[in-house]
């Protein structure tokens, strides 16, 4: 199972780098959720099923949704700013 652990660890690192290197925020957030799911698996490898559950539900799930939702707001605000060139009063 050592090989699996090495792969998982590298996967975590890769996912994290992906989050940082990606130029698209949306892709970053998706990779962040992937990272969270990988981390959930990692916690089971560390015999911490509670953490696996929490990571899946909170870390990846809820945080991911919050990020995605915010992304929508940001995009709309950007569009709005572009459509109305003049500054808001």
């Amino acid at each position: 199972m050592i090989a699996f652990d090495i792969l998982l660890g590298l996967g975590l690192i890769l996912a994290a780098s992906g989050v940082f290197l990606s130029t698209h925020l949306f892709r970053s957030v998706v990779l962040f959720v992937v990272f969270g799911l990988l981390l959930a698996i990692t916690w089971t490898r560390l015999q911490a099923p509670d953490l696996a559950l929490a990571e899946a539900a909170i870390g990846a799930g809820l945080t991911g949704v919050l990020f995605l939702d915010t992304l929508g707001t940001l995009r709309k605000a950007k569009q709005k700013r572009r459509s109305k060139k003049e500054p808001r009063p």
């Binding site: 099923p49 509670d50 696996a52 559950l53 929490a54 539900a57 909170i58 799930g61 809820l62 949704v65 919050l66 939702d69 915010t70 929508g72 707001t73 709309k76 605000a77």
Partner: protein, 229 residues
Amino acid sequence: MNRTLRIAVAGTVALGTLYALLVAILWVPEIQVNLPQQVALNLEQSGIAHPITAVLLNFRSYDTLLEIAVLLVAVVTGLALRERDALTASTEQARDPMLHALTRRLLPLLLITSVYILWSGSYAPGGAFQAGALVAAAGVIARLAGYDIASRADVLLRLGLALGFILFLTVAVSAMLGGRPFLNYPEGWAGSLIFLIEAVLTFSIGLTLISLFVHAPGDSSPRGGADDD
């Protein structure tokens, strides 16, 4: 700051951190205190069979109390920053029949799972936080489907948010009234009290996380709640 300079500085700091952490991890001295053993020895006395729940809600319950306070602070700030004149909810989402149907099937499932996770927390992995997160997930999905939950910031919502904390604090303080230390559970009651606290916490945590999502400024808030008391 110049971009290359910035990267150089950040790279140096990051590499330094990496080196230091690896040194610290690989040359870690031999541990002297065996805390897991102590947990195991005192597990029976704690009234909870699952060691992590025992640590969270009995041995180190003070941490958890403050942690709930952190959640509350976050949501209070969230409520404070609500926009009064926020745009109404995007109604198309609510009319989406697919989402609506899916939500109707998914919601009960999530809620039942959360109850199960809460229940299992006393002897197996699970507990208030995970269950609360599931409740929140249910709430978020319902919200996305257009159900109007927790959008009003009246006193009931605030009570709901604070309920878990209130109960926790009350139990903790009542110990002092009985002459026992703060955060102590009465003999033999620990298990049931902890379960009760966890159940209420699940509700409050769920509501808190939903509120943080629902009341976040932006297009998703249907209308700003009034501040009337």
